[in-house]
């Protein structure tokens, strides 16, 4: 291990998420909670690997924050992480946590996704800072991610507030060099019962709200001289206020301009901003998504250019800034006169969800969907999904459709939800379905993991974040306990079985659950033989092609389908759907 010692003195490459985990560890954090969600997942994933810390995958973000609150109350420094839309789920405890304040420092990481690389919306969570009255800080590379995280815990304790560390996909998933610091040991803070601070009855909460406003006043003073903000003076004809990774884009294309780089984005340092504004000819605010900084400047009567020239939508880039601010659009050096077909993401070869969507499409059912890999079932050629809103929405949506359109519609409607998503927030709408006498048929696509975010465990896998065995949530027993009398298990790759189950459950007057159970193809370790298409038997019907599997391809010259044995996982779904028995196991084309 002498090698390790040597490199410790050097800088290491880390993605932002790894640096946040390291920062939390150095700050003496001993409890970390999260629900996986891109682009936040790797933070607690990495943190869980440190010695002597507790980390958990919580069932959802609300629970993660509540456990975090408890840990903070108990005196530990606590890290809670989630993606931007996860903060919506945790918003209930968050707003009131702002009133109670903390005991051990508590930092909530909100990982926003401008450009929606892997999300259903691109909300700007800096807004939470303003409404929940939190200190919000924003780093711009991996080194700052580590440093700001460490600092955030001190600030949380100093100001008795949860601190939001707001990051974005490009920070979370970009690597840059990081110099690690020394881990501080933080003895557990003493726990003292203090109902006036921690029991938010109206009488107590009214007093706490006054404290919150006092805290905001102190924070407004703090940010004026915070080392997290800095002015870089340069050419004063243009001044730019920016924060986060956008700072890097600004510097990439404009090395000479004066920049006020904000590390604290809520509250904003009014005096510092006025000082900067007064000394530059033209002031710009460059911020992705919402005009959070710009609106505040305008409210203060400071003249500024921002969203009048820059977009409210999508991710920014050096290219965009060059074009909008400098009027430069370098022509591409090379371009082909060729139209390039797009390559949308798709279900993996061998994915058990494919069987489900094939059957749902064939039966032309209305499908209310949910969040996970299986949302890809909405795309052609499967194209078997009618709605996707947020985590857990499929079941409530199906019930609502039924209540609006009557029982006939419910015989044509299926709610589709993954196992991890069901545990996250599908249980309460299923209770609603039973309680309010819906007929909804719910399919739980149980692949035994949280697949999309990189295969995290959850309560129904029976393993913890550290892969140790734990009590396994039995989905079948749970569903029965809720009051669903008809629960059946099917193999999603046996389309005949699946179709029969759907026919019977849709016809049944009352709610039912079909558990479509088979492990995710990426974690299924059983070795299977790739399939093979007997050329003479292939009648060119393309039914296998319509499964949308990269393991099967079409040879136009021969008008035949073929299997790519390198990609085929041998799941046999194409053999299952072929009417001419042309697909068999083994061999090679």
């Amino acid at each position: 291990m002498h090698f390790q010692k040597e490199v410790k003195l050097l800088k290491r490459l880390m993605i932002g998420n790894q640096a946040i985990a390291r920062g939390a560890y150095e700050a003496g954090v001993t409890v970390a909670t999260a629900y996986p969600g891109t682009p936040s997942t790797e933070i607690v994933d990495n943190f869980s690997k440190f010695e002597g810390v507790y980390a958990e995958w919580s069932p959802n973000e609300k629970v993660a924050l509540e456990v975090g609150f408890g840990a903070s109350l108990g005196g530990a420094r606590t890290l809670v992480t989630m993606k931007h839309v996860g903060v919506n789920v945790a918003a209930d405890p968050l707003y009131t946590l702002s009133y109670t304040g903390v005991n051990g420092g508590l930092v909530l990481v909100s990982a926003d996704d401008p450009g929606m690389h892997s999300s259903q919306n691109e909300q700007d969570n800096r807004g939470y800072g303003k409404f929940a009255k939190l200190l919000v800080i924003e780093p711009s590379d991996s080194q700052e991610a580590l440093d700001f995280t460490r600092e955030a815990f001190d600030l949380s304790e100093q100001f008795d507030t949860p601190v939001m560390l707001r990051v974005t996909t490009r920070l979370c998933h970009s690597q840059s060099l990081v110099e690690e610091g020394v881990k501080q040991d933080r003895p557990l803070k003493e726990y003292k019962k203090n109902e006036a601070k921690y029991v938010m009855l109206p009488g107590f909460a009214r007093l706490r709200h006054v404290e919150v406003e006092k805290r905001m006043a102190s924070l407004r003073e703090y940010v004026e001289n915070s080392p997290l903000n800095r002015i870089e003076w340069g050419d004063r004809t243009k001044g730019i206020i920016t924060s986060g990774v956008t700072y890097q884009y600004v510097r990439e294309v404009m090395r000479e301009v004066s920049v006020l780089k904000l590390g604290t984005v809520n509250p904003l340092p009014e005096k510092l901003i006025r000082e900067f504004a007064a000394q530059v000819d033209k002031l710009y605010v460059i911020e992705e998504l919402e005009p959070v900084i710009e609106d505040q400047l305008k409210a203060w009567g400071i003249e500024v250019i921002g969203k009048s020239i820059l977009p409210l939508t999508g991710e920014y880039s050096p290219e965009l800034l060059e074009e909008v601010l400098l009027g430069v659009t370098p022509p591409a050096a090379y371009q082909l006169e060729e139209s390039i077909p797009p390559r949308p993401p798709l279900l993996c070869p061998g994915c058990p969800h494919r069987g489900v969507f094939h059957v749902l499409k064939r039966k032309r059912l209305t499908v209310t969907g949910d969040i996970g890999c299986y949302t890809l079932g909405a795309l052609k050629p499967l194209g078997a999904m009618d709605s996707t809103l947020c985590m857990g929405a499929s079941i409530g949506t199906a019930l609502g459709m039924e209540k609006a359109r009557g029982p006939e519609a419910s015989r044509r409607t299926v709610a589709v939800i993954g196992d991890s998503t069901f545990v996250h927030s599908g249980i309460t709408p299923l209770i609603d379905t039973v309680y309010n006498q819906g007929n909804t048929t719910v399919m739980i696509l149980d692949n035994g993991t949280t697949a999309m975010t990189g295969h995290q465990d959850h309560p129904a896998t029976g393993r913890t974040i550290k892969k140790s065995e734990t009590s396994r949530l039995d989905l079948e027993a749970l569903v029965k306990a809720i009051g669903i009398n008809r629960v059946r298990k099917v193999d999603p790759l046996k389309t005949g079985e699946l179709e029969k189950a759907l026919d019977e459950e849709l016809a049944y007057e009352g709610p039912s659950v079909i558990l479509a159970t088979r492990p995710c193809a990426l974690i299924d370790k059983s070795v299977k033989t790739p399939m093979f298409i007997i050329e003479d038997k292939c009648k060119s019907c393309k039914i296998c092609i319509k499964l949308g599997c990269t393991g099967v391809y079409w040879v136009e010259e021969e008008k035949k389908a073929r299997i790519n044995p390198d990609l085929c996982q041998g799941c046999g779904l194409c053999a299952e759907v072929c009417k001419f028995d042309a697909v068999v196991e083994g061999g090679s084309n």
Partner: protein
């Protein structure tokens, strides 16, 4: 190289190992004493979608992402992706194309056609084009999955990265059982440079 920064754009199909390739090249650049930034794609696009990893290194690097017309090297793990990201290549830049062909969904479903002879069309406009069957070469090393590392060997040598440095990076980044195969693939890519008849040096 704009602002003394070297820019490598690594493109392919989710699952082809663009992430590992970018990490190996980035680590080797760190060993050479550069400031380095890497932008990666995680999440939904990794499910068979078009993916891009970006490596930038030099005395001081700000943005982790590369502008159009700025990439010194485009490393394409698949032909269609080479064509898609061609506008990112700078004038007189180098494009390396693995001649793999993976049909995207709209082609599989018969809605759109996969363009013909893409590597020839690219070679028709870009002088420094190298097209090779990296997947085939990797297969001979033990697994087609090491095609990414074959390309890393080729690009690493072209950019003047020491072989030792790349080898060490691989040792640190791949699982123990896959190290030997990947080092073999690295050397195959490294030696492939000798077979290239055109000047692919990056100034």
């Amino acid at each position: 190289m704009a602002n003394n920064t070297t820019n490598i754009l690594i493109v392919g199909v989710g699952g082809q190992g663009t992430l590992l390739a970018s990490r190996v090249l980035a680590q080797a650049a760190v060993d050479l004493g550069h400031d380095v930034k890497v932008s990666e794609i995680h999440g939904m696009a990794q499910r068979g979608g078009s993916v891009v990893s970006q490596v930038r290194y030099g005395p001081k690097v700000f943005s982790p992402i590369i502008k159009k017309g700025e990439a010194d090297v485009v490393m394409a793990f698949e032909k269609l992706e080479a064509a898609r990201y061609l506008p990112f290549l700078r004038k007189d830049g180098l494009i390396i194309i693995n001649t793999d062909k993976i049909d995207p969904l709209p082609v599989m479903s018969g809605e759109l056609r996969y363009p013909e002879k893409l590597e020839e069309k690219i070679a028709g406009v870009v002088t420094k084009t190298v097209a090779l069957d990296a997947t085939g070469i990797a297969e001979k090393c033990g697994t087609s999955k090491a095609a990414n590392i074959v390309l890393v060997g080729l690009v690493g040598r072209t950019l003047g990265m020491p072989l030792d440095s790349l080898t060490e990076a691989i040792r640190g980044l791949v699982p123990a059982k896959a190290i030997d195969i990947n080092i073999k693939a690295l050397n195959e890519g490294w030696n492939y440079v000798d077979k290239v008849s055109i000047n692919i040096g990056i100034e």
